[in-house]
């Protein structure tokens, strides 16, 4: 490994080293606040380090990693998201977790972040798989970290079983591809697979489809989505937002990288599979969300649908697809962080504010929180003045630019369906009721949390009104 390699990996090395440092800190003295602050500092340092290596991109580290602007952008996004999640985690742990063993949570969070950040720069099956497993294994524990809650344990187990299964699909797919091509690096696939026999092509396609199944599980695409609602509901809100943003964002990035570097867009059958998955995901995700009464489950189905929308850009491919997908995932991350942040802030009991009834008349009790939540929900619904609209526009433009009318049409139809359940939550918040007794005491006041949510809300509106700067950033990747 050269010096340049090490410098290029500096953000990741800082993150890993910082984690060890925090572990030592915890061993020396258990203190929730110290662990929390050290985590925040490490994320910040690691994030700042990205700006120092941006000049030396792209840099290849063997066949394993590539440090390019695209990867660094996603790393930055992941680190910011992790930073925000840490703050909400602190609030949640402080409110609901028994007063012991809170500190390890941050170690796991950092480890998962490290895994996700490595996934996005992987260009090889091995590095991809190992990073993904770091992410996933940390998530098993994070999901069931609130061990006093039955649902958390259940969710953790469910995630463990299904994620392990999806990993095995992924591995099997990789193995099949390796059998044919004799290579595990993304880029050499594009050269090799053009001159193989028909039988071999079938096996290659089968291998890729196996991998699609594995990735589909991670992204909770229909029909591999069954775990999402239960896990979203069972895990604590910050962890849920981690799964929805960091974990999914990283997988989307590597999926884009894999398909572009290995040039898999030439296999029409695979693209057909993706088209069908996208259509079903958009529709089923939104339709199932209609029947939910639990806000976390609603958001779970909504995030299923959103990944379906994202596939439209993914299918559009090189033309404008990468920009659109990156733009969309950025907005999606900001929105989901905000939405789950609000759930954390509104929660008062172990069950968290999951039931839609908890939001009744929130608009009159906590106008700021409710306004922010409204902004996030409208952004998810894709209404103008919010970033979600610009994101959806970008997706539609990418899809239609490639002539994918069926996908664009499904996107539009399912957005209308989606609107219904977002509005339902908003309407519930607007209700002016005499019997506010169900809700009990006012939400715990947390200055940092509320200001953070406000910032995210303002960001959403800002991007919704002047998206040009983000478009510029994204289009230069």
């Amino acid at each position: 490994m050269s010096i340049q390699d090490i410098i290029s990996l500096l953000p990741m090395i800082l993150l890993a080293g910082g984690m060890l440092l925090t572990m030592i800190l915890i061993a020396a003295k258990r203190s929730h606040i110290v662990a929390f602050i050290s985590t925040l500092v490490i994320f910040t340092i690691s994030f700042v380090a990205i700006f120092f290596i941006i000049a030396t991109t792209p840099h290849l580290i063997g066949e394993l990693f590539i440090i390019d602007r695209f990867g660094l952008y996603y790393q930055g996004l992941i680190l910011i998201a992790a930073f925000v999640i840490t703050i909400f985690s602190y609030i949640s742990l402080k409110k609901f977790f028994p007063n012991k063993r809170k500190e390890e949570y941050y170690l796991l969070l950092m480890l998962a972040t490290l895994g996700a950040a490595m996934v996005v720069i992987s260009t090889h099956f091995i590095s991809f798989f190992v990073s993904l497993e770091i992410l996933t294994v940390s998530l098993y524990t994070l999901i069931s970290y609130y061990r006093e809650r039955e649902k958390a344990i259940e969710a953790g187990l469910k995630y463990l079983v299904l994620a392990a299964m999806s990993s095995s699909f992924l591995l099997f797919g990789m193995a099949l591809i390796y059998t044919i091509s004799g290579t595990m690096s993304f880029s050499s696939l594009s050269i090799l697979s053009s001159n193989v026999t028909i039988d071999a092509t079938i096996m290659l396609v089968a291998g890729i489809v196996m991998m699609v199944v594995g990735i589909g599980f991670k992204l909770a695409l229909v029909p591999f989505h069954m775990w999402a609602p239960d896990v979203y509901e069972g895990a604590s809100s910050p962890v849920t937002s981690f799964i929805a943003t960091v974990s999914k964002g990283a997988v989307v990035a590597v999926l884009l990288r894999f398909f572009i570097m290995a040039d898999l867009y030439r296999y029409e059958k695979i693209m057909l599979v993706f088209t069908i998955i996208a259509i079903v995901t958009m529709l089923i995700g939104n339709l199932l969300a209609l029947m939910q009464n639990n806000v976390k489950r609603i958001l779970a189905y909504s995030s299923i649908a959103h990944l379906g929308y994202l596939l439209v850009a993914f299918i559009a491919g090189k033309a404008m697809g990468v920009e659109a997908a990156t733009f969309y995932i950025t907005i999606y991350v900001v929105t989901i962080l905000g939405a789950f942040g609000i759930i954390t802030l509104v929660s008062q009991s172990d069950n968290e504010a999951a039931d839609i009834e908890n939001y009744k008349s929130l608009f009159w009790r906590k106008p700021l929180l409710a306004t922010a939540f409204t902004v996030f929900l409208l952004s998810l619904a894709g209404i103008p003045l919010t970033a979600g609209f610009m994101g959806k526009y970008f997706l539609l433009a990418a899809g239609l630019g490639k002539g994918e009318w069926a996908l664009a049409f499904t996107l539009v139809i399912s957005s209308v369906i989606g609107l219904y359940y977002y509005l339902r939550v908003i309407v519930t918040m607007m209700k002016q009721d005499e019997d506010t007794a169900i809700v009990g005491t006012a939400p715990v006041f947390s200055v940092i949390g509320i200001s953070l949510v406000t910032i995210l809300g303002i960001l959403i509106v800002a991007i919704g009104v002047c998206p040009q700067w983000l478009v510029n950033v994204v289009s230069k990747l």
Binding site: L385, Y393, A397, L400, P467, S475
Partner: protein, 504 residues
């Protein structure tokens, strides 16, 4: 730039109203009133100093998202200015009517009100299709809040219905806009949403027709044409008075404006193909709306169906493709805004006093509230098209114009005038005359309400007696649109109608 300031002014006042609403109930009202009043003054001054000649009286363009060729391009011609005038006038009145009616969350109410007005203003001046769609959607959310928070008993249902109908149809329009954007981009290499550049985009007849349908559906849902009208009675009935006034007076007009400004010039040939269907739908709306209006017992619902019927005339007139009919349409947009707005204000005033909209429980109110009765009579006469009031001019122009385009349909549409007499007189009969059902003890219109109603009365009579003031302003934009629509196409009937020009 002044056009952009119009929007920013409203939005700014909206935020200010929301903020001050925390401390006082009166401040938001005053702030909003001032904001809209300033807008009114600006628009009136623009109208007074404008001269015939160039197409746009005032315009402004600035890059917004250059990556996609999206600009903030706004411009106003006579048509836009008339619509803006109506917007600020009705906006002013809707703040005044809610002065006493709205007592909870006053700040947020005015925030929403100002936002709706800002969105509507944006719709009337946008010349960039993306900006247009943006404004089109921006006016929905606050309207949704107005209905769902301050509405009547079934407000949630009505708000949902309103939102889903308009949003779904709007997204179809958005797809069409994108389609147009890409076709133009492929043809010329410049990807832009600029209305003036997109004019005359070459595409196959079939594509043009499909793209046009996307626009048309969005607009005729807003225009509440049968069979897409079912959101309107619910939304109008459940909204607070100010909401009903804005819905009927302005939101419906955005549909008509969209058809005139965008559909006809962008898809001239497809519009001609579509004309028979559109005119038939228009006639069906006129008659069916009138029939349903007759069957209602809920006063606000009845007025809502009157709107359906009157919007039918608009559709009929637009697709007649001649100047007379189109001038009638412009007139109808304004006159209907005034007369229906006034009827909703009266219905609201009654509801405030007797807490019911059920006409079976009213009756014999004339003796109790003679002023209200007399004013209601004027606007009911307006609705049924009594000569001397604005609506008469509008309907007669539309009927004359569409007679050249399609004789049979026009004759059937004329029956709508008879039907309107029946339902309109029924309101008078049930509410103000007839037997007294209950012993209501109610006050007549107060000073504020009298001021509102008298200003409306003056306007509707002025429209009826001096329609030229309006027609003069809208003449040149209407001529341009008709010309550009008919240029591509020479049907003999249209050649005939070209020769008929309003004698000023």
């Amino acid at each position: 730039m002044i056009l952009v300031w119009l929007i920013l002014l409203l939005i700014g006042c909206g935020f200010l109203a929301w903020l001050t609403g925390r401390w006082s109930d009166i401040l938001p009202r005053v702030i909003s009133l001032t904001g809209v009043f300033i807008q009114l003054i600006i628009i009136v001054s623009l109208l007074l100093e404008h001269k015939q000649g160039s197409q746009w009286i005032i315009s402004y363009a600035h890059a917004w998202i250059p990556f996609f060729g999206i600009q903030i391009k706004v411009a106003a011609d006579g048509l836009s200015l008339l619509m803006l005038l109506l917007t600020s006038f009705l906006g002013l009145l809707s703040i005044l009517v809610s002065w006493k009616e709205i007592n909870k969350k006053v700040g947020f109410f005015h925030f929403n009100l100002m936002f709706v007005l800002a969105g509507i203003t944006g719709v009337f001046i946008s010349l960039d299709l993306f900006l247009f769609y943006f404004s089109w959607e921006v006016m929905l959310i606050p309207m949704y809040f107005l209905i769902s928070i301050w509405g009547n008993e079934k407000r949630t249902y009505a708000a949902y219905k309103f939102f889903l109908f308009t949003q779904a149809s709007g997204l179809l329009m958005f797809l069409s806009i994108l389609g147009l954007y890409f076709i133009h981009g492929h043809n010329t290499g410049t990807y832009t949403f600029d209305y003036e550049q997109l004019l005359g985009t070459k595409m196959s007849t079939q594509t043009a027709f499909i793209l046009m349908l996307g626009f048309v559906i969005a607009f005729i849902v807003k225009l509440s044409t049968v069979p897409f009208h079912s959101w309107l009675p619910d939304a109008h009935t459940q909204a607070p008075t100010a909401g009903s006034v804005i819905l009927a007076g302005l939101l419906l007009k955005t549909g008509a404006y969209g058809l005139i400004r965008f559909v006809l010039p962008l898809f001239p040939q497809a519009s001609h193909q579509f004309a028979p269907i559109a005119m038939t739908l228009g006639v069906i709306s006129i008659l069916y709306g009138a029939k349903l209006a007759f069957a209602q017992t809920d006063l606000k619902r009845l007025i809502a169906y009157i709107s359906v019927s009157h919007m039918g005339f608009i559709l009929l007139g637009i697709y007649a493709f001649n100047e007379i009919a189109m001038q009638g349409v412009v007139m109808q947009m304004i006159a209907h805004g005034i007369s229906t707005g006034a009827l909703f204000i009266i219905a609201g005033a009654l509801h405030e006093r007797i807490h019911t909209r059920d006409m079976e429980q009213m009756g014999g109110l004339w003796t109790k509230v003679p002023k209200m009765g007399a004013l209601a009579l004027i606007f009911i006469m307006g609705s049924l098209g009594l000569p001397g009031l604005g609506n008469f001019i509008a309907e007669i122009l539309i009927l004359i114009g569409s007679f050249f385009a399609d004789k049979a349909l026009t004759i059937i549409a004329t029956l709508g005038l008879i039907a309107s007499t029946i339902y309109a007189l029924r309101i008078m009969q049930k509410v103000f005359y007839g037997k007294e059902e209950k012993k209501w003890v109610i006050a007549d219109l107060g000073f504020r309400e009298m001021a509102i109603m008298l200003s409306l009365t003056i306007v509707i009579i002025w429209l009826g007696l001096f329609p030229n003031c309006i027609l003069k302003v809208s003449k040149s934009p209407v001529q341009k649109i008709i010309e550009s629509t008919n240029r591509v196409f020479d049907v003999q009937e249209n050649v005939v109608s070209q020769r008929i020009i309003i004698k000023n």
